[in-house]
């Protein structure tokens, strides 16, 4: 492994503009191998996400699975106060977060390597990070802020998975109340629209732009198919079979053709088996 010489106190920048930082799990094992984080200021042509301000966001590659948001905040605080950390499996726009759903119902996060978007409070944090020399590794787990892994972590996880039924019930109730309210609103709206379509006293109907969605039930794909098939069957029933001589002849021809096809298929199968020496009985 080619390591940077120890005298080099400069940041290591690779083609592509990324600065390489090294990462160590804990202070104790100074001989241990290091992971390499690649960092760069976050820069995309059109950033729609307000949570990633272009000048203050650091884009980090290759974040090990045991680094959670809080760990990253701790580690990167040495470059300046950190406002927020966002971890995701792939670089790119952040997935729409499930708002309004309690933590019990969000799916578990995969324990894989991720990328991070670290938003500093000041733009200087980004620059400091990019200037950090490669041979001074960042430390993940320190004595005052240990990171739990292995057995201790799993026991903690198990303990956390035991939840009180009442708090779960509370969350469910809250969600269902919201849901019901939403449904009610929806129904109300539909009712209003339906009312608008009714004739008024003078016999006028108001035609609005949004009338397309008024249909009470959306027509479905299966229903479409069903009607198509029904028509096809009707057509078939009307047709006469084996009525004309040519029809009769054709059926016979087709029968022979089918036998032939089967024969050819069988021949092929045999050839394959022969090639595999499947006819040696012993």
């Amino acid at each position: 492994m080619k390591m940077a010489p120890s005298t080099d106190q400069h940041a290591r920048v690779i083609p592509g503009g990324f600065t390489v930082l090294s990462l160590r799990f804990s202070e104790d094992d100074s001989h241990a191998a290091l992971h390499q984080l690649c960092v760069k200021e976050h820069r995309v042509r059109a950033e729609s996400n307000a949570n990633r301000p272009l000048d203050r966001t650091l884009f980090v590659l290759n974040v090990p699975p045991y680094c959670t948001e809080s760990v990253m905040t701790d580690v990167f605080s040495r470059f300046g106060p950190v406002q927020s950390v966002e971890l995701s499996e792939k670089p790119g726009a952040s997935a729409a977060s499930d708002s309004g759903v309690s933590s019990y119902f969000t799916s578990r996060r995969r324990q894989c390597f991720r990328v991070a978007y670290i938003v500093f409070k000041h733009a200087s944090g980004v620059k400091a990070a990019k200037r950090h020399p490669v041979n001074t590794p960042l430390i993940i787990s320190s004595t005052d802020r240990p990171v739990r892994t292995g057995i201790r972590k799993w026991i903690q996880q198990y303990s956390d998975s035991l939840i009180k039924a009442s708090s779960l019930q509370q969350d469910v109730d809250q969600f269902m109340n919201n849901y019901d309210k939403q449904k009610e609103k929806e129904a109300e709206r539909q009712k209003q629209e339906a009312e608008q379509q009714q004739e008024d006293e003078e016999g006028w109907v108001k035609v609005t732009k949004s009338s397309r969605g008024v249909k009470v039930r959306p027509h479905s794909e299966t229903a479409n198919e069903r009607t198509l098939q029904k028509e096809k069957r009707k057509k078939e029933r009307k047709e006469l079979l084996n009525f004309y001589t040519w029809q009769h002849r054709n059926t016979q021809k087709e029968h022979i053709a089918e036998l032939r096809k089967k024969f050819e298929e069988d021949k092929q199968r045999i050839a394959v088996l022969r090639a595999q020496r499947k006819f040696r009985p012993y």
């Binding site: 699975p65 057995i151 035991l162 269902m176 849901y179 959306p218 040696r280």
Partner: protein, 1150 residues
């Protein structure tokens, strides 16, 4: 053994590396080279794909609709009418081509026979000596056991009167692979004497003459090897085996028989009721009895008489075969059929000669037509076997026997199976036991049923699959140390039989021992079959092997599971006259017992506790009977079966193999299900309660065992939520949650959005929790996904399901407002859990009721898969289905009735099934019709590429193969196939050798192939005690040995297995770089294999940086995996669990 295993695994290693390295390329290259070589051999037809994969046939319209010729029409018609399809006909033709002798081979045989004949004509004459004097045979032993040693008569050598080809070769029924050509050398009449018929004098002269020929031939240069042997295990009929020298030695074996002149002795002297061996001479004790009271010697008579007839038999068969053009091919097929069933060799066999004679009988009695095809001949022959019992109604080929010929009843009195030759004097099947004939009948009727079933590949089942003893019979016993049979002859008073068989005590005692066992086992078995004692072969300069030197005799049993495990043998009532007979059979074991219905009867009781022990009752019976009646000690009987029980045994101290535990789980589940149905105050009613766990279909390798907890071992979480493992203690015992799916009724109240449905389900879990708690005092734990119930020391995991949910997950609206359904992974996963799993569980539960040992076979199979690290790649459900197919489609066998035979067949299936070209159809409940199965096969061929490697079809899953969709991959399947073949080989040789050996060998995975081994701290492996080789030191895991509570108590630690958590983290983090292998049942090693493709340097990309490091060369940044950091991560992620890493760095460079 260990060493052998190592060698073989090394080859596995290399193959595997290659496979994983560049399997695709490798395969293609191979195919290409194969193709090239084939092309040069024969012009490959363009329609045939040469890579061994079936492709859909495409014929142009013109080709399909051209006018047919008459010939083609008749061919197509024949194929349509006679066979299920034309493929069977073509298969038969191919097979016949494969076994027929080539012209080249015939030429070789012709010249070799000519050389030998010419050479034998000039055997030098020798002086007349006494029969006892064998000093003139310098250097060559006489191929005869001289017991008793003295015999009267004189002997001298003289050139043979004539030398003729006899048997299958001149008849044209000789087939590969063991081509043997029979040469009959007629002894000149001057050497023999009319009184030679008695006291083995003729037989000894015959042996001496053969020895003379052998001595002469040993000087010949054109002879490759010379051995003695004997015909069909009959020591009175030695033969000489000649092979050509050099490379041709394997191509033909010449068998030289010495025979007397055809009319030398009158056949009437060998009437089966006449005596030709005098007791006085045989025993050496002066006999005071009259000659007329001497016992008959039918077998000896048949032997001598048989030597007179080969030429006339050949004449007879040639005449018959000339009438029927398909005779030769028909006999050839029958011979293949017999050979696959190991019926064509040894003492009492049904050999090729008998097959020809049978075909001649069928032709001469017009049971088959002269114009029939070979296929029809075979079918009719099998039909004849199945419908005719030659042990009761013998048949004869003699048209008009002379007045002195014995009648059929006389033959029946002397022999157990009767088939009389054209002369009317000889019983062709004299040596066959009634049991062998019953075996033939059984095989024939089984074959016919397979043939009539359009869904079974009859060709494969009948003619291509070898049915070895171990794989065919549920239980196999071996009689070793055959010398003990001598004492049993004494005990059974078999002097006359011993005389008749000229001292061969094995053959003499065999029928009696077999019928004794049949009597004792009675209803417990369907069939009792035995291996045929094989013909020994020995060199010229050594004495013939003794009778006791034979290989062990195997006895195979097909069990009738209804009765086989019963502990009680109930006999007749005490006052019944048959009671004495019963007492005589069972000896002191039989006791008078009073039963609940008031009857007092004789009965034998075998005390056994567990089901696995009950399987040994048959062994007990056999040992008891043999010891009591035949003086065969226990040490002579070796039982093949039950040796594999150790790997699925519950613990070292208990002897149960988990069947009882499974039952207990099912009972507890039934109780829970009843209580769920009866719950009051549920907002919606329950429409179904279904089990969805392997334990509920009896196929969980180690079924959950009720436990009682030692609370001090755990931490307690506040609010009485449950117990939590302590950090400093060993991992607590693993409590597997048993999944139960509860469907709630449909109602308008169910919301129509996925998220809302999940919340409603969570609400149901909470509701069920409260009701179960209140009404039955069960401790429960509700989560959004499931509800855990702590009951009877077991944990049931109830999951509420709503039948429309998968459908709702698939729904989406198009911009036009149309409702469309699109399949997605989430919906599929849900359907798998709530639909497929419960259905499979209930179906297989039914299968277990039908076939008693289905569950055990499944568990053995899965134990093997797990131990070879395959269970994570071949899903448990897929493995269950594989085993189910053994029971539902057993052809050519019967459904297995013992764990061991089922397991062997599982390995055989896995190692030989052609996954590339065939779907495995598991016709559960027989729901698929033949037409549907054909459709499935056609669809499969049409879209092979897009389907999973291992394609398993069930009636509910015809298109997708849900259980094998994700895994295994091609490479993994190939790996599994290789491991299965190797394990099968190792196991069968061990079981066959009859000695006590370590059966666990097949359950130890080869570790040489892997790059990194992660050794785990056994303290933290919860299933440690279930390992294939359980360690001596065990840990206290928070359980008490007392009876568990039915309800109440703190909630235990459920489904907490650190190793599984560790593995899933490893796979999530490093799944792109490496494969991880583990035995989930107590393994202490995780084996890691790097993916070679991931190790090549790749250009730097933001999407490809995970766990890699950057190197810059000439302003180009490339990345490679950061191996050292990854290894460090293995340690960090598994802190407290990982003991050490074992790096095999010689395989890869950092």
């Amino acid at each position: 053994m260990k060493k052998k295993r190592n060698e073989s695994t090394e080859t596995v290693t290399e193959d595997q590396m290659e496979v994983i390295a560049n399997s695709q390329n490798e395969e293609e290259n191979e195919k290409k080279s194969a193709k090239r070589s084939k092309d040069s051999k024969r012009k490959a037809k363009d329609t045939v794909s040469d890579d061994g994969v079936l492709r859909p046939v495409k014929l142009s319209k013109k080709e399909l609709f051209k006018a047919p010729t008459v010939e083609e029409l008749s061919q197509l018609k024949e194929a349509e009418n006679l066979f299920h399809c034309s493929i069977l006909k073509m298969q038969m033709e191919e097979l016949l081509k494969e076994v027929a002798l080539s012209e080249h081979r015939k030429k070789l045989v012709g010249s070799f026979v000519q050389q030998v004949t010419d050479y034998l004509q000039c055997v030098p004459e020798s002086e007349v000596v006494e029969l006892d004097d064998i000093s003139w045979l310098s250097g060559v032993e006489i191929p005869f056991l001289l017991v008793p040693s003295t015999a009267k008569g004189k002997f001298h050598m003289e050139p043979p009167a004539s030398i003729n080809l006899v048997g299958s070769y001149p008849l044209g029924t000789c087939i590969k692979p063991k081509v043997s050509v029979d040469l009959a050398v007629t002894i000149p009449a001057s050497v023999l004497h009319p009184m030679d018929a008695i006291n083995q004098r003729y037989s000894r002269k015959r042996a001496l003459y053969l020895a003379g020929l052998a001595r002469h031939l040993s000087f010949a240069k054109f002879v490759g090897s010379l051995h003695y042997s004997c015909l069909h295990g009959n020591r009175l009929r030695p033969i000489l085996l000649l092979k050509p020298p050099g490379n041709d030695s394997s191509k033909v074996t010449l068998r030289i028989h010495a025979i007397p002149p055809p009319d030398f002795l009158k056949p009437s002297r060998f009437h089966p009721l006449k005596n030709n061996i005098r007791t006085e001479w045989f025993t050496g004790v002066a006999n005071t009895q009259q000659e007329s009271s001497e016992p008959p010697t039918p077998h000896y008579n048949g032997t001598v008489l048989g030597d007179h007839l080969p030429l006339s038999h050949l004449q007879f068969l040639s005449a018959i075969s000339a009438q029927c053009p398909a005779f030769g091919e028909g006999v050839a097929l029958l011979k293949v059929w017999l050979r696959q069933r190991e019926l064509d060799q040894g003492a009492g066999c049904f050999c090729g000669f008998h097959a020809s004679m049978l075909m001649a009988y069928l032709l001469s009695t017009h049971k088959v037509g002269k114009t029939m095809s070979p296929y029809q001949l075979l079918r009719n022959a099998l039909h004849f076997f199945a419908s005719t019992d030659l042990t009761e109604n013998g048949i004869t080929l003699a048209k008009n026997p002379d007045s002195k010929a014995p009648s059929l009843p006389e033959f029946h009195a002397a022999f157990s199976v009767v088939f009389v030759d054209p002369s009317g004097h000889l019983n062709l099947l004299a040596d066959m036991t009634a049991f062998t004939y019953k075996q033939i009948q059984h095989e024939a009727s089984l074959s016919l049923t397979f043939w009539d079933d359009p869904t079974v590949d009859g060709f494969q089942a009948l003619l291509m699959t070898p049915k070895s003893m171990l794989r065919t019979y549920d239980n196999v016993f071996k009689l070793v140390n055959l010398v003990k049979l001598q004492t049993s002859c004494k005990k059974l008073l078999l002097l006359n039989e011993l005389m008749d068989h000229s001292g061969n005590y094995v053959l003499a005692a065999l029928p009696f021992i077999l019928s004794l066992l049949q009597q004792g086992l009675g209803e417990r078995i369907h069939l009792l079959a035995h291996s045929l004692p094989q013909d020994p072969e020995w060199p010229l300069d050594s004495a013939p092997p003794k009778h006791k030197d034979q290989p062990p005799l195997s006895i195979g049993l097909l069990l009738n599971l209804e009765h086989a495990l019963s502990v009680l043998e109930r006999g007749p009532a005490a006052d019944n006259p048959k009671a004495a007979e019963f007492r005589q059979l069972w000896g002191s074991r039989s006791k008078l017992r009073r039963f609940q219905d008031g009857a007092i009867t004789e009965a034998v009781l075998w005390t056994r506790n567990s089901i696995s022990q009950k399987r040994f009752i048959i062994l007990k019976i056999i040992i008891h009977l043999l010891e009591l009646h035949a003086d065969i000690p226990k040490s002579c009987v070796i039982f093949v079966g039950g040796q594999l029980d150790i790997v699925i045994r519950r613990g070292i101290e208990n002897h149960t193999t988990g069947e009882e535990e499974s039952l207990e789980v099912v009972q507890s589940y039934d109780d829970l299900s009843k209580k769920l149905w009866q719950l009051k105050d549920l907002p919606l009613s329950i429409t179904s309660v279904q089990g969805a766990h392997q334990a509920l279909r009896y196929t969980q390798v180690f079924p959950p065992v009720p436990v009682r907890l030692d609370y001090s071992f755990f931490d307690k979480k506040k609010n009485h939520l449950g117990l939590v493992p302590k950090e400093d203690k060993p991992c607590p015992c693993y409590i597997a949650p048993i999944k139960v799916i509860v469907h709630m009724e449909g109602s308008g109240k169910w919301p129509s959005e996925p998220m809302a449905i999940r919340h409603v389900k969570a609400a149901f879990h909470i509701c069920l929790r409260e009701l179960l708690c209140k009404q039955h005092n069960y401790r429960c734990h509700a989560t959004p996904g499931y509800l855990d119930v702590w009951k009877d020391g077991l944990v049931f995991r109830i999951q509420v399901a709503y039948h429309r949910e998968p459908q709702i997950l698939r729904e989406s609206l198009t911009p036009e407002g149309m409702l469309i359904y699109r399949d997605n992974a989430e919906a599929q996963a849900l359907e798998l859990e709530t639909l497929h799993k419960p259905f499979l569980t209930s179906t297989l539960h039914g299968l277990q009721q039908q076939y008693g040992c289905f569950g055990v076979v499944c568990r053995l199979a899965k134990r093997w898969l797990a131990s070879q690290f395959l269970l994570e790649y071949i899903r448990e459900e897929a493995a269950d289905l594989l085993v189910a197919s053994l029971f539902l489609h057993p052809a050519p066998f019967t459904p297995p009735s013992s764990p061991q035979v089922g397991f062997l067949r599982f390995l055989h299936l896995l190692s030989t099934f052609d996954w590339k070209n065939n779907p495995l159809i598991v016709n559960l409940n027989g729901k698929l019709t033949a037409a549907e199965q054909t459709d499935i096969k056609n669809d499969f061929v049409a879209s092979r590429e897009s389907l999973p490697t291992m394609f398993i079809v069930t009636p509910n899953d015809k298109k997708v193969s849900v259980w094998t969709k994700e895994a295994p991959s091609v490479q993994m399947l190939q790996h599994a196939v290789m491991l299965a073949a190797e394990s099968l080989r190792v196991l069968e040789t061990q079981l066959d050798s009859g000695e006590k050996q370590d059966m666990r060998v097949a359950f130890r995975p080869p570790l040489e192939a892997y790059d990194v081994l992660i050794h785990l701290d056994s303290k933290q492996v919860p299933l440690l005690a279930k390992a294939v080789d359980p360690p001596a030191n065990t840990f206290q895991r928070g359980t008490e040995a007392e009876q568990p509570y039915a309800s109440g108590g703190a909630l235990p630690v459920i489904d907490y297995d650190p190793v599984r958590l560790y593995l899933s983290e490893l796979r999530e983090a490093f799944g792109d770089l490496a494969l991880f292998f583990y035995d989930p049942y107590g393994g202490t090693v995780i084996a890691v294999l790097w993916k070679p493709a991931a190790f090549e340097p790749k250009p730097f990309k933001t999407s490809l940086m995970n766990a890699r490091r950057v190197e810059v060369n000439d302003d180009v940044a490339t990345t490679v995996p950061n191996v050292e950091a990854i290894l460090q991560d293995f340690r960090i992620t598994g802190e407290g669990l990982v003991k050490r890493l074992d790096l095999r760095t010689e395989k890869w460079v950092v």
